[in-house]
């Protein structure tokens, strides 16, 4: 699958296929991370995060492919891994990764900031319980119609589903607001 096709898939909501195709680069990333003091699980985490970053980059920015996707993923993963190493105080390995060779450091810092905020809201949605989570996912990400959601999730009517969505959304907002107040 060509890089252009993968980008196109992400743009057209077919990220499932794109991710699957992108996994062909995983062995390469795994090798890099293991050679720099990581474990298989670290490689999995880093690679998955890199895929999400790529996805967001494609969806929300004017992403133009200047190098091969594999190169892009490789450098993102290197950043991520260096970051993780520094966080865990593994100077020995983090020094091995020269971050200066890419000029994307600034985009990098920005990306990271967004990430930490996100995990809070993700956690909140997780805490809302399975039904709410599923409902919100179907509505926002799969762009499913409320009518279909109602029949899929067994709500009596479209209106019930709509109401339920509203309740879930408000609950999440409320919780998020509370957490922000506490300063988490």
């Amino acid at each position: 699958m060509s890089d252009e096709l993968i980008i196109e898939l992400i743009k057209t909501n077919k990220e499932d296929k794109a991710f699957r195709a992108l996994y062909k680069y995983f062995p390469m990333i795994r090798k890099m991370i293991i050679s720099k003091g990581g474990k298989l699980e670290d490689a999995e985490d880093v690679f998955q995060e890199a895929l999400i970053i790529l996805y967001k980059k494609v969806r929300y920015t004017e992403f133009r492919l200047t190098a091969k996707l594999s190169t892009y993923l490789y450098s993102v993963c290197r950043f991520l891994w260096k970051d993780a190493l520094i966080k865990n105080g593994r100077q020995d390995f983090s020094d091995m990764i020269d971050a200066n060779e890419d000029n994307e450091e600034s985009m990098w810092a920005e990306m990271k900031e967004q990430e930490s905020d996100l995990s809070t809201s993700e956690k909140i949605i997780n805490d809302l319980g399975g039904r709410c989570k599923e409902l919100l996912m179907l509505f926002y990400m799969e762009a499913m119609k409320l009518k279909d959601i109602a029949s899929k999730m067994g709500y009596s009517s479209e209106n019930t589903a709509k109401n339920q969505k509203y309740k879930c959304l408000e609950a999440a907002k409320k919780r998020l607001k509370e957490l922000k107040k506490v300063g988490i």
């Binding site: 990220e15 499932d16 991710f19 699957r20 992108l22 996994y23 995983f26 999995e44 690679f47 998955q48 895929l51 999400i52 996805y55 967004q114 905020d117 996100l118 995990s119 809070t120 809201s121 993700e122 956690k123 909140i124 949605i125 997780n126 989570k133 919100l136 996912m137 926002y140 990400m141 799969e142 509203y166 959304l169 408000e170 999440a172 907002k173 998020l176 607001k177």
Partner: protein, 734 residues
Amino acid sequence: MSKIYEITEKIDRYLSDKLSETEKLQFEKMISEDPGLQESVELQREVMNGVEGLVLKQKVSKAYHRFKLTKVLIKAGLISLGIIAVVLAVAIFRSSKHHTHSSHPHKEKVFDSKDIKTEENHSLPIIELSPQEVEKVDENIKKDLSEAGQSLQLQLFTLNSEKDTVIQTNAGTVLSIPASCFINENGKPIKGEIQLTFKEAMDAASIMKSGLTSTTDGALLESAGMFFISARHNGQELKIDSLKNIYAEVPTNNKRGDMQLFDGVHTNDGKINWVKPKPLSNYLTPVDIHSLNFYPPAYLDSLAKWGYNVRDKKFTDSLYYSFAGLFVKVNNLEPKEEYVPEDTSVARDNQETPVYKNNQQRSKLGFVTNDVQAINPGKIKAIWNDRFQKTLIATREFQERIPFIHKTCDSKILDLYVKNLNKPISAIDLMAAQQLNGELKKVFLDFASRKEGKVNVRNSQMEKLREFYSIQAKAVSEAAFKTEEAIRQEQNRLERIAQKKKATHVSEDKVREIMNLQEEYDLNLTEACRQLGIIKPVFASTQVYGFSIRSNGWKNIDRLVWEAAVNRTTFKYSAGGKKAEIKYLPFSVKLNEYKQYDRIYVYLLADKLNSFMRLQQDNDLFKEQLNELMKYKMVCLGFKGDKLYFSEVENVESKVYEDIILKEIDEKILNQKLNSLKNLNQLEGIVKEVDYWKSELQEEKRRKKERDRRNFRVKVMRVIFPCALIPSDEEVYD
């Protein structure tokens, strides 16, 4: 509410970019003017981002699992794929074994449909068409001929000939290709990359669409799927080494044993004739034994229904295996001392005391004897073990049979499978069927008819496994038995202690009653004598029982006073113009909330008695007669869980108390209150009493727990031993 709702909806549309340009501008203006709205938008945006993040993580990890699955497939020398049920029948149309093709410079070209067509024409000679006939086939027919199967999608795989490779095709066919399996026309194994071409028509629709037919010499075949396989190296058609096989698994929903593999040859009317049927080599594929489920069919479902965590394998295992104790032979047991507590009247009706029965019961139940109508969980534990990895036991086929083996309730059926590990599973099915009747016989005959194969096991290994099986099953049973015995003995011990305590308490109650009676009688008699103006006889107070009545004059008074004290009724006597009267006045307490307490007791502490009186309870009513000669203090004690409740009334009057409210009281404070009692005997008695009730409540809890445990075990037994007669209560163990 509805306003907030509308705003939320609007933010939703704004964030998902669904507002029109004007609406958007308006809304953005609103946002800039309203910090509250701005915050709300931000929060909602974050929530939506959160949803997105979660979905992405899900998708990414799904992609990873797919990636891993493919990895596993390629790595594994043997196939282990969850969804695959194995071959029904496969029709192969393989291209010519002898065919050598002119070189094809490009891969695309190689797999061009035209090429394949040509090949198949070339292959005709090996199948009963003379070369002359081939020559007769004109171009048109050739073209038609190519139609069969040509519309199917071509799947290309590139593999390294020096490695074992497993491939899963689009329709789910799994091919296991051993290293150096392909040879060139000189019979030499190929080194380097091999291009594999694969076509498949696995369901009726694709078979018909592709124009493939399933006939053998004109007779119709029932097909479970067809595939075409061809391998090339640098454009050169390869043969399969006759010493090595490609192992194929074709997915199917209903497996049949009588399916065979046919080779396909093209006929000159454009169809494929299927020839040279071979029975399917039917090796079973062992999988990780711990991924299989050997529990009785309804076991996990029932536990789940009762609210237990069935994912906790440690729990489900230990519970299931604990029943192995039932299979210990009865003659191995030493006779155990059994304690049968008397049915004491103190216990309330609803608190049945566990009644232990003697050992004889055990054999009567049909359990623990040799002809147990159930599969010993110990045996399941023995086979659900790493030692049985890579054997017949560790196959999905065996897992399919396990529920029915449980249903036979016959350990011998299970033994058949475990002791014939090197036989084809269908042969064992047949052996099992011979021992069975009715429905189950049919089930096992059906299994046998699938003609499913075997897993090779070395004889020495099999011997070892057989031995392990019998030893382990016995060991598990004995261990489980000992554990249950230990629990039971501990419970017996606690029960004995409790019974002893209870007996002591009952006898103390009796002593107290007697003492009270004697003291009260003494008091009454003294008073009666005082009223009559006579001297109280000495003998009356020394002994309650067996006092003799010596004189006429006293006898009546004595007896009347005695009866009054016993019956607690007002006593009247007149002799020689003088009257004596001892009044008993009614008193009662009505405790409406009595049901809220585990136990509730009302005591009267009389100033002239050394002990206390515990009032008889009649639902919410506690009644007693007060002796007018004494002053009474009333104490109410309630027990609920670990908590104590208390209320007291000084100088009790003759009336109905309805407004008594018990208040929770700390044990220390209660002790202080009791310590204020002036009469030390009373104090000692009542403290003892409180302690006793506390321990009694503990006991009750223990008993309930044990009863629940046993009832639960009985419930489970009904599920896992469907044929055994499970007695209604604890009798199974005791």
